[in-house]
């Protein structure tokens, strides 16, 4: 592979001058400078796909908001990470994520330990701005250790990426279309029948919501396992 020459670029975020490498994304440079941008599908150590759109920021001169996690930096660009427009877009996006599936937190496995829930607090969304769609999907509890509940899935594809990029098993894909998309195992068979799944559990511990969870496990063990897997991702990212 031909490596592109990496240069240093300087530009502005919220009127503060920052510098980054030309191969870095806006989000990465913002993080390095302690400028906070909300994210959901992004996970350090995995590729960036820009699927959730929560990290939208404003770039001066651009007609539309752009996702910070997939946008490369440019010399002299001027970026804004908060504004009335950005806040209202983020709230609308979060509302759409909530309304697409059934997020009945009070009876969810992930209640109190869910990144989607955390976003509602972070973005101060106290009610959905759009009506709920009331879709219902079958739960796959066939695997001996894990459960897949598409009713809580936000289609962030973290599970797909970790299984492909880190575990190398490539057992998960996104199947179906649009609003009815679901993650599927192999050729859309019950999880237990997947030939490629190694039962490593990485997908479960990168999932931000209650869509993937382990059966019969204590809260403490969930925390420990999640830390192990998230650290593994971080370390790999740093060593790259």
């Amino acid at each position: 592979m031909i490596k592109q020459k990496v240069r240093v670029k300087s530009f502005k975020i919220n009127d503060i001058t920052v510098t980054g490498r030309s191969d870095q994304t806006l989000l990465e440079v913002a993080k390095e400078h302690d400028i906070f941008i909300p994210t959901l599908c992004y996970l350090e150590g995995l590729s960036c796909v820009g699927s959730c759109r929560l990290c939208l920021v404003e770039v001066k001169g651009a007609r539309e908001l752009v996702p910070a996690c997939t946008s490369k930096i440019k010399e002299d660009m001027e970026v804004f990470t908060t504004s009335e427009k950005i806040d209202s877009h983020r709230k609308m996006i979060l509302s759409m994520i909530f309304s697409e599936r059934s997020h009945t937190c009070s009876v969810c496995e992930a209640n109190g330990d869910c990144e989607l829930q955390d976003k509602s607090v972070e973005l101060q969304l106290d009610h959905s701005l759009v009506p709920y769609i009331d879709s219902r999907f079958a739960i796959d509890a066939s695997h001996k250790n894990f459960v897949h509940d598409p009713n809580r899935c936000i289609l962030c594809s973290r599970c797909v990426r970790v299984c492909n990029e880190i575990e190398g098993a490539n057992a998960i894909n996104i199947g179906g279309r649009g609003i009815n998309s679901m993650i599927i195992h192999d050729m859309d068979e019950p999880w237990i029948d997947s030939q490629s799944c190694t039962s490593c559990g990485k997908c479960v511990y990168v999932c931000p919501t209650g869509a993937l969870y382990e059966k019969e496990i204590t809260k403490e063990d969930v925390t420990t396992k999640r830390e192990i897997i998230r650290n593994l991702l971080k370390n790999r990212a740093e060593n790259e």
């Binding site: 059934s102 937190c105 972070e122 009610h127």
Partner: protein, 179 residues
């Protein structure tokens, strides 16, 4: 001092949010002097009153009666506070939306019943179920939202306190969906 004319109502919820209200314990005594409770499961008034300053609504809208009363509440109240996840998201009450009301009636009145001799749903006196359970703000304008299942007493207290004093609070410090 003019007392705040308060109403509270329990629609399609489990009453847990009203219980949480009582869980404010001794703080209720602190709040009591500010309020005139006109209508509530806590008092015995039959008709929803007029000129209400604040109505606190627990529960989602599930029946034609709920829909009718929430419109009356809106017309008669200066402010509406949606209390708890059922009022705000539909929550547990709206889980039947995934199966539709018909399936729920079928199950309740036919499949699980031994004594439904004339094989009909009750259709008089009891309110008719809507096709979809909806949160309050899908039917009327709601002024304040206080999520939680049930909303913690601390969150209710802070919210009421802020309303009395005319201050603004960040409720996400005290509660969230599912709390």
């Amino acid at each position: 001092m003019n007392k705040i004319r308060l109403a509270t109502i329990w629609l399609d919820g489990c009453s847990g949010c009203h219980m949480s209200f009582l869980d404010m314990d001794e703080r209720l005594i602190e709040l009591a002097p500010y309020f005139d409770v006109l209508y509530s499961p806590y008092v015995d008034t039959k008709e929803f009153p007029e000129n209400v300053d604040l109505t606190i609504v627990e529960g989602a809208l599930s029946s034609d009666h709920d829909l009718e009363i929430i419109k009356k509440i809106r017309a008669n109240s200066k402010l509406i506070l949606a209390l708890g996840d059922c009022a705000i998201t539909g929550n547990i009450s709206a889980m039947k939306n995934l199966y539709k009301s018909e399936a729920v009636l079928q199950r309740g009145y036919f499949e699980l019943s031994d004594i439904n001799k004339d094989n009909r749903y009750p259709s008089t006196v009891v309110p008719k179920l809507l096709d979809r359970v909806i949160p309050l703000h899908e039917a009327v304008k709601v002024d304040y939202f206080l999520p939680g299942c049930p909303t913690p007493a601390d969150a209710i207290y802070e919210m009421i306190h802020a309303l009395i004093n005319g201050t603004i609070i960040d409720i996400s410090k005290y509660t969230r969906f599912g709390k």
